[in-house]
Symmetry: C2
Subunit: 206 residues, 2 copies
């Protein structure tokens, strides 16, 4: 189908539909049934799915396999995105060794570290940071994952942008300054933990 | 100092200050300097810090070590929070083996899985899910981490709540229904990847 412009809000809901659909074992499914299962508004689900798939038929709904393909293809999960990771500490190594990203079309090619403690993790090589520019240029890498400490994150971010990186997945608990056209997606585990632990403290005081 | 009520917005900014302060090597620091470094409003930083620390002095600022202690203690990082993790697949094992959570006062005691593939990861035991109620009761665990597939997450969530869990850190890409008084913090990596990969597709088309 012709590719429509969709909002970031719709985009953020699509992975939820996808994971729900993948867990099912039926041939057809209606937007109504999906809405009920995910506790969402039926109109919203209907519009979201119509934005990415032509396959809905009245009274029958969507063929599950086709809908999965349409959402995956819309999200770019069928085109693999190559990424590099900077900061091969505990979290970096955990991400490097996590094979679950394949399902989302993310392929971490290699990691970089100022002072690599190991030469590879799960078959992925860890290079010194000075090798970054050449690697990014040769492999035409556009996505960078930052897993360095907060104090080093901005410098790493600047280097990645110099190397041609356009999208940054930031796991460092800090704000990054970037020029226009560069997207930063923050994954702040420290913030999540602060919210959770504050809730528990409030519960315990009750 | 007397504990004040603070908003969730303030709470979410505190880990950022903390990680910035930890990366510094000075004895005193002013709210003005912190605001400039983190590219934030000076008034906001001043108010945030005053809410958690009494230590600010005119013209001198805060003693860095004291401010670090005050924020850490406010966030409960000095009281260790015990948690259990359900779903010992790739992501679950990565989190289980990640030692960086210690710094935030999170201690993952053990993991549970419907069908444990291993008996332990990095010295942490993996038990069958049926052992969950007894373990949570004996150890008085209040935080649960969900790393099962989306299709199983709600069932796991319900079981955790039955076991007395009050705060849930959800890594499954799905919406969870919970009763009042239970906090769910979602960590949706699939959503982050969708946003990043969509940005790259738009960049490439330009």
């Amino acid at each position: 189908m012709e590719r429509k412009e969709i909002s970031k809000a719709v985009l953020k809901r699509l992975p939820g539909y996808l994971s729900y659909l993948k867990g099912l074992d039926v041939q057809y499914i209606s937007a109504t049934a999906i809405a009920a299962a995910l506790n969402m508004g039926e109109v919203q689900v209907r519009k979201d799915l119509a934005a990415v798939s032509d396959g809905g038929r009245p009274k029958v709904g969507y063929e599950r396999a086709t809908l999965i393909d349409d959402i995956s293809s819309f999200l770019g999960y069928d085109n693999t995105t190559d990424a590099i990771l900077v900061g091969a500490g505990k979290l970096g190594q955990a991400l490097l060794g996590y094979s679950g990203f394949d399902a989302y079309g993310l392929n971490i090619l290699a990691a970089f570290d100022v002072n690599p403690a190991a030469r590879e993790v799960d078959g992925k090589q860890i290079f010194p940071v000075c090798a970054l520019p050449e690697f990014c240029k040769n492999r035409n890498v556009l996505m960078g994952i930052i897993t360095v400490p907060a104090s080093a994150a901005q410098e790493v971010c600047d280097r990645l942008i110099d190397c041609g990186i356009k999208a940054i997945w930031n796991f460092a608990p800090t704000h990054l300054e970037v020029p226009k056209g560069i997207l930063v997606q923050n994954e702040n585990m420290a913030t999540s933990l602060a919210v959770l632990s504050m809730h528990l403290q409030a519960q315990i005081k009750k």
